[in-house]
Assembly symmetry: C2
Homo-oligomer: 145 residues x 2
């Protein structure tokens, strides 16, 4: 059902500085950048490795673009750091239905748009041992690779 | 230098309950369990996917076994949740030397024992955008696979 660690989402105050840190310290390169207006973030995806389901694992660096975005609220409460983790699936709606049926609150009534044309949904962190958890169905046009 | 997301470390109060959550909710299975006396934790490794460097990505669930362990202090401050992230390398001492030379404080003078016979070192979270970051050199006897 879930076949990879799709990404680790990291909240930061300055995306350009954080991208520079990951590039200059570890050699990780930005695969993709975009603004997600719905979530109120500017983000960069850094591909770390390929995975044996034919996709890849990324770091997702997130900078809020408005003060009422969830990532802005996270930064105000916690400071910079890991914001969420995401598992990859080839059927996000199906996986969310199964997981919801196992007693975990699914935060989105229907999957919504994630990075690089993916479909995503979030699970309630209080039902997941304090871990904000996302499910990701990669865009099959290959942009996720 | 760093070729995979090796694991995501998650702090929990009850390892058995948390293992059960990950198994029953997502179908993830425990690959390995051990006690790390030095770090004061009981831990379970759940293999999520293979990686294109020939190794794998895991969740590492961590329960403190004494109150003065770093994970116990983390739980007291933050509650349950993501504790650290770890990148895999084939040379942890070399990678730590390079990264230390780029201005990040390396928390261990020499690599120490990690999960499944690996060698590990930690980087200071204040130098890594609030993210406690670990470097992992897998045990080459194949236990990491």
């Amino acid at each position: 059902m879930l076949t990879r660690i799709d990404h680790i989402g990291i909240a930061c105050r300055n995306l350009d500085e954080t991208v520079r840190f990951y590039r200059e310290t570890y050699g990780f390169e930005v695969t993709h950048e975009e603004v997600n207006e719905e979530q109120g973030v500017r983000e960069a995806m850094l591909r770390i490795n390929g995975t044996d389901d034919g996709k890849a694992s990324y770091l997702q660096l997130l900078e809020p673009i408005r003060e009422d975005s969830p990532v802005a609220k996270f930064l105000a409460r916690n400071g910079e750091g890991v914001h969420h983790i995401a598992f990859g699936t080839d059927d996000v709606a199906g996986a969310a239905a199964v997981i919801g049926g196992r007693g975990v609150r699914v935060l989105d009534a229907a999957p919504r748009k994630g990075s690089m044309g993916s479909l995503i949904t979030f699970l309630h962190p209080k039902d997941c041992g304090g871990v904000l958890t996302e499910l990701v169905q990669a865009n099959e046009d290959g942009a996720q690779h």
